[in-house]
């Protein structure tokens, strides 16, 4: 039944099986670098002192309050975005699918913009809660817009993939019209806040936001990983998957729901970070073949590694200033992806 798909051996196994362990090692090294490197120089000995409780208050604050939440958020957002992308590409059988396609990012942006522009009226909230209004708004926007897309694409005959994508396009347009309307009534302060939010950052989140994002990422990963066999069947076409005994509708619903939750949470915590959801699954497939048993976990690792690398780059590029991470993910991910594609094409010809 469903497990048959996973039993198909991945082509050209030699050389590839080394990839995932190496990637895991690289991710761990990057996470350590995320703790160890930054504009403030902290030696490994000083790091050790902080870990054993003998560090200076300044080093303790930098490691535990500034760098550690960033590494955790990179893990949460990288995993969420990459798994959402891989699942969506699998379900839609569309290599260009990314979570933005079904309206998640537009919805999150609409929620965030609403909070930024209209939050002047939220002065009734206690000051301690106000910083959390933006992530909550972004998450609510993502959830609302994605559920609308799924409801719109649903009919008695089931959820049509073509309708899903087209409804996503239409809802994206509506959400951006809403954003445009809000931008029109906003003042220059809101405009600046908005444009900064739209470029994403791991630096603005403290522990509470990073931990909530990690919780959502873990929850979503627990739901995404068991979908691997179903996603393999989807590659044969929906009809074939149905005849192979897969509850196609249920799988699609689950994929959509958890994509919305995971991407919504990541975007709420770190702003819209482009490219990870699109590229991490492709890199994973280049590394370990098309089987989703491997693609899903390797994508999550790849997404985390890419985000950690991008975060390091923004921290170290032009100290003491810090450019937004959205720039770095595209600047690092783009050329890397292109190089891999060209190398693979060269190998296929040679």
């Amino acid at each position: 039944m469903a497990s048959e798909a996973a039993d198909i051996p991945a082509p050209r196994l030699t050389g590839r099986s080394l990839g995932p362990p190496l990637l895991l090692a690289l991710t761990l090294v990057l996470a350590l670098a995320g703790l160890g490197l930054g504009p403030v120089a902290i030696t490994p000995a000083e790091m050790l002192a902080v870990i054993t409780g003998h560090g200076t208050p300044a080093h303790e604050a930098i490691l535990l309050q500034i760098r550690a939440p960033r590494v955790v958020l990179a893990l949460a957002a990288g995993t969420s975005l990459a798994l959402s992308g891989a699942t969506l590409q699998g379900v839609l059988r569309n290599p260009l699918a990314d979570p933005g396609l079904i309206g998640v990012t537009a919805g999150a942006a609409l929620g965030a913009v609403s909070v930024i522009v209209l939050a002047g009226g939220a002065t009734a909230l206690p000051p301690g809660l106000r910083p959390y209004l933006l992530p909550v708004g972004a998450f609510a926007g993502a959830a609302a817009v994605t559920s609308f897309v799924f409801l719109a694409a649903r009919s008695r005959a089931g959820t049509s993939v073509a309708t899903l994508i087209l409804a996503g396009v239409a809802v994206n347009a509506i959400a951006f019209a809403g954003i445009g309307g809000l931008i029109y009534v906003s003042d220059d302060v809101a405009l600046r806040t908005l444009s900064l939010w739209q470029m994403g950052s791991l630096g603005g989140a403290g522990w509470p936001v990073a931990l909530v994002a990690l919780g959502f990422a873990a929850l979503a990963a627990a739901r995404f990983l068991p979908l691997a066999a179903a996603l393999d069947l989807f590659q044969l076409g929906e009809r074939a998957a149905f005849h192979a005994g897969l509850d196609v509708e249920r799988a699609k619903f689950r994929a959509g729901l958890w994509t919305a939750v995971a991407t919504g949470a990541a975007t709420a915590a770190a702003g819209p970070i482009g490219f990870i959801g699109l590229v991490a699954p492709h890199l994973a497939r280049l590394m370990c073949g098309p089987g989703h048993r491997a693609v899903l976990p390797v994508s999550a690792l790849m997404g985390t590694a890419l985000l950690l690398l991008a975060d390091l780059a923004t921290r170290l590029a032009v100290p003491p200033a810090e450019p937004p991470i959205g720039l770095a993910t595209s600047l690092i991910g783009g050329p890397f992806f292109l190089w891999l594609l060209l190398r693979k094409r060269g190998a296929a010809h040679g």
């Binding site: 220059d188 936001v209 003491p320 200033a321």
Partner: protein, 285 residues
């Protein structure tokens, strides 16, 4: 365990030394940087944000980024013992992280009239531990503002002024009521051509024609970006107004015009001369 008990003592020791003399100061807010230098304490400023561009010595300092998007570690890397920040500095989680790292943050006053300048001067002087230097500067500021207010009584005309913040395609951003630019226009004896709307808002070309400005006011940095005075005056909307027909466009240093700092009286004087060329010599501006 030992660390837990030691930490408060260490922190207290750190705070006492900091209170004695904060020798490494980071400033987020161009107006506050200007005041710190005007108070003669510029040598203690080790880094500033990107809105700080005056006096010239500031250009040589490391820039920690835009004041609404400050990087926590970038600031800590300057090893500061004090940060002086404008009320708009943020984001709030970063300020929290900085405080957690033991950095003292002094947050300045806010206001949309020049009355806030004396408060800012006293605030910066207090934060830098030189409160006695504030009063002479405040007195000079207030004397000059009073003199200018007196001169403004003598203006024979009150031109309608349109402040253009940014001129993107379609609707330019203009300054409505409750803005620093609108307040400066009023103090300089002009009338803000856009009184109906609040804050800095986009305005359609037709509404610009209806606002009927006699003078267009802009920040000099922005003017260059949009192709200079000729390009602005030749815009279809501006060209239809008195300002366009007479070619009256005033360009001023942005931070000086709307930053509300020690240079505000000089900015007001410059704006008065530009708005009332006929009265300027008679009144001795």
């Amino acid at each position: 365990m030992i660390a837990r008990r030691l930490a408060p003592a260490l922190l207290a020791a750190l705070l006492t030394t900091a209170a004695a003399a904060q020798e490494r100061v980071v400033i987020a807010g161009g107006d506050l940087t200007e005041i710190a230098f005007a108070l003669g304490e510029g040598a203690r400023v080790v880094a500033a944000d990107t809105t700080s561009n005056y006096p010239a010595a500031v250009e040589a300092l490391p820039k920690v980024g835009y004041l609404r998007a400050l990087p926590a570690e970038g600031i800590l890397a300057q090893a500061p013992d004090l940060m002086i920040a404008g009320p708009e500095a943020g984001p709030p989680p970063v300020l929290e992280q900085l405080r957690a790292a033991g950095l003292e943050i002094a947050t300045g006053p806010e206001g949309i009239t020049p009355d806030v300048v004396p408060q800012k001067i006293r605030f910066v002087a207090d934060a830098l531990g030189v409160p006695e230097r504030a009063e002479p500067m405040v007195a000079a500021f207030e004397a000059e503002m009073t003199e200018l207010a007196g001169l403004a009584e003598g203006f024979t005309d009150h031109p309608r002024v349109l402040f253009l913040l940014a001129v993107q395609e379609g609707a330019p951003l203009v300054a409505g009521s409750g803005t620093e630019a609108g307040e400066m226009i009023r103090l300089a004896g002009g009338v803000n051509a856009v009184e109906g709307i609040e804050g800095y808002r986009p305005m359609t070309p037709e509404a610009i024609i209806a606002a009927a400005p006699d003078v267009v006011l802009m920040m000099r940095d922005f003017l260059g970006r949009y192709g200079g005075a000729e390009a602005i005056l030749a815009r279809p909307d501006i060209a239809q107004t008195e300002a366009g027909r007479e070619g009256r466009l005033v360009a001023m240093d942005g931070m000086m015009l709307v930053g509300y700092g020690p240079r505000t009286p000089a900015a007001l004087r410059e704006l008065m001369r530009a708005l009332h060329p006929a009265d300027a010599d008679r009144l001795g501006l």
